[in-house]
Amino acid sequence: MDKKTRTYELLVSIFIFITTIFFLFISIQNPVKAPGKGIGPMEFPIVIFSIMILLVVVVLINNIRSRQASKLALQESTGKAEKKDLRLPLTMFLIVSYALTWKVVGFTLSTFFYIALQAKVLNRKSSNKMCILISMLAVAFVHLIFNVLFSIDFPEPLLTFVLER
């Protein structure tokens, strides 16, 4: 396993560990015992969360052990610095911003801007005209399928405000 994967593994394991402890705590705080031989609503989750914690601890121990083992190897290797690709963090930022602007700008406008910007971010050589054209076509397609055909109403606060005035 490479260094990057190990770091992700550590982060994810710690996150799952903390979350599971939190949920286990909630489950223990709300015990509802079942009469007879049945089991209550929190008993099954308690078992599952306990097993999860044990398994995550196994992964964490393995991760720390493999880190120590690879330290020597790392010291020996000269390792070239990886060229940073900004497309991924920018894509993540754009996706989150896009979802958040649904409620503010509205679906149509935010989709149009998102697709145009995202296309440009992923390939800077793409012409602006092409990005705008594809973006318009994609918005029209989504509207045709979901809005016209399936009668799904998307949030459009800005357009509604402008049209009502």
């Binding site: 099954f44 196994v58 991924l88 894509t91 998102y114 793409s126 994609a138 989504v142």
Partner: protein, 499 residues
């Protein structure tokens, strides 16, 4: 199921309904595109198409998904042959002889064989599905809570098998899925669990945003840094359809690979990749010129493509009769069935026979359409390979988020898909498999509900020993878990020895 008039009316219903025919055609077409584009899979295709089917009736909706499934697996052969990049994991074996054929200038021939072999493979597995599924369902129709609980436990044990070498991580991912299924109203007592006072969580974590979050978003993020338009071998698409004489000559390869594909597909947690490997290996062993395999032998393409598509019919046997998804695509199909108010399992055949017949007919039509679409439009699917990633990625993001929103018109579901998508992305980067999470989510609720019901009704765990079918499922599940642990340990030891 014995009612002949019911069969005739259900089959005729599919053939004469324009919407059903159109949705199967669209599904198959989309599947071929998803299969042809490296980085996108049939699983993602089904996940993205589910929202488009919300307003449809069950048969056209599921026909569309089945079309995507069949088309998605078959489409994977196109980049495998032309680019040496499998469009889907199932097409890895196809690259072995497909690409060398392409380099020899026989790419068109390989594409033709891939399309027709896929079609025949799916047709033979469809025949087995139609024959065996009703028989199996009849045997299982008397299931009670203990059998269903044992069945769900068996389904969950598949987590061990699909986890590969990272078995502990697979279990964590699977239990995470089970934990997600806890959110909402308790299935027996009706108490609210882990909703934190949110109305949006009272009905549980909606399946659609979860499926999209765990499957589509990580895949989109992983593929957004792919290089655009990889180099393609030049191919002249003409006279690529295999003649009847050619098909007859390869009959044994096709039948053998179809049977292998169907059997492998019916075994949960195997999949098209394994089926293609086994079929390829068998064909190579029997061949008079085994040394030509790997250097451009058309039999290699035929066996791999027949077997990986034959898995479709085989995988539907446990899904429809027992409600057990064998892999991620069938887990997605199970999600689609549930969203349309159908619970796969023995009772599906008893309660909704017309839907089952409709599904069988839709699968047959999807197979025919897949071959037809490739026959008349192979040029188009080859051109699909040059769709720029920078335009495809944002379109898929929009479809994913719209899909999450569409089921309940809920903005909360969009945010949920994003959160789970972020989590899924980090998990894939950390080498956690995603299929167990989906299996856990889909089967976790069923297992908990039936298990607790069985305990309440029968006053104790002894019921699982007293009922032979339940006991059988539990034993097989433990056997599966044990063998997976042993296999994982062996792989780990081998890796350590080689290091």
């Amino acid at each position: 199921m014995g009612d002949f008039s019911l069969i005739i009316s259900a089959v005729a219903g599919v053939f004469t309904d324009g919407i059903t025919l159109f949705s199967i055609l669209v599904g198959t077409f989309m599947g071929l595109i998803f299969g042809a584009l490296p980085g996108l899979t049939a699983t993602m295709g089904v996940a993205l198409l589910i929202p488009m089917t919300f307003t449809m009736d069950a048969v056209p909706a599921l026909g569309m998904m089945l079309g995507t499934y069949v088309g998605g697996i078959a489409g994977g052969a196109i980049p495998a042959i032309l680019l040496n990049i499998p469009g889907t994991p199932d097409a890895v074996v196809t690259t072995m002889d497909g690409y060398p054929l392409s380099k020899k200038g026989r790419g068109a021939e390989a594409l033709g064989w891939a399309a027709y072999a896929s079609g025949i493979g799916t047709f033979i597995s469809w025949s087995m599905l139609v024959f065996f599924a009703p028989l199996l369902a009849k045997v299982c129709v008397g299931f009670g809570a203990p059998e269903y609980a044992a069945l769900a436990f068996f389904g969950l044990s598949i987590i061990a098998a699909v986890s590969g070498k990272t078995i502990v991580k697979g279990f964590i991912a699977g239990f995470l899925g089970v934990a997600i299924s806890f959110v909402g109203i308790d299935p027996i007592w009706g108490n609210l669990r882990y909703t934190f006072g949110s109305i949006n969580l009272m009905g549980g974590v909606s399946l659609m945003p979860a499926l999209i979050g765990f499957y589509s978003i990580p895949q989109i993020l992983n593929s957004c840094t792919f290089p655009s338009n990889p180099k393609m071998e030049k191919v002249q698409i003409k006279n690529f359809i295999p003649s009847l004489k050619d098909l007859w000559r390869e009959k044994f390869t096709i039948i053998r690979s179809s049977v292998i594909g169907t059997i492998v597909g019916a075994i949960p947690a195997t999949g098209g990749n394994i089926a293609a490997y086994i079929a390829y290996d068998q064909t190579k062993r029997i061949a008079k010129d085994p040394e030509s395999f790997g250097n451009g032998n058309v039999k290699g393409v035929i066996s791999a493509e027949t077997a990986n598509n034959a898995v479709c019919g085989g995988a539907l046997i446990p899904l429809l009769t027992l409600g057990i998804p064998g892999d991620s695509v069938t887990a997605m199909l199970l999600g689609g069935l549930i969203i349309h108010g159908l619970r796969p399992g023995p009772m599906l055949f008893a309660d909704n026979p017309s839907v089952v017949i409709g599904l069988f007919t839709a699968l047959l039509l999807a197979t025919l359409m897949m071959v037809l679409l490739q026959t008349i439009g192979i040029q188009f699917f080859v051109r699909v390979l040059s769709i720029p990633v920078n335009f495809l990625t944002p379109t898929l993001v929009v479809l994913s988020l719209v899909g999450s929103f569409a089921l309940r018109n809920s903005y909360f579901d969009v945010l949920l898909a994003l959160v789970l998508g972020g989590m899924g992305y980090l998990m894939t980067k950390a080498d956690f498999p995603m299929a167990p999470t989906v299996l856990g989510m889909v089967l976790g609720g069923m297992f908990e509900g039936e298990f607790r019901r069985a305990l309440r009704l029968n006053q104790g765990l002894a019921i699982f020993i007293e009922r032979p079918i339940a006991l059988c499922f539990i034993l097989v599940a433990f056997l599966l878990i044990f063998s997976s642990i042993v296999r994982s340990y062996k792989i780990k030891k081998q890796n350590m020895d080689s290091n």
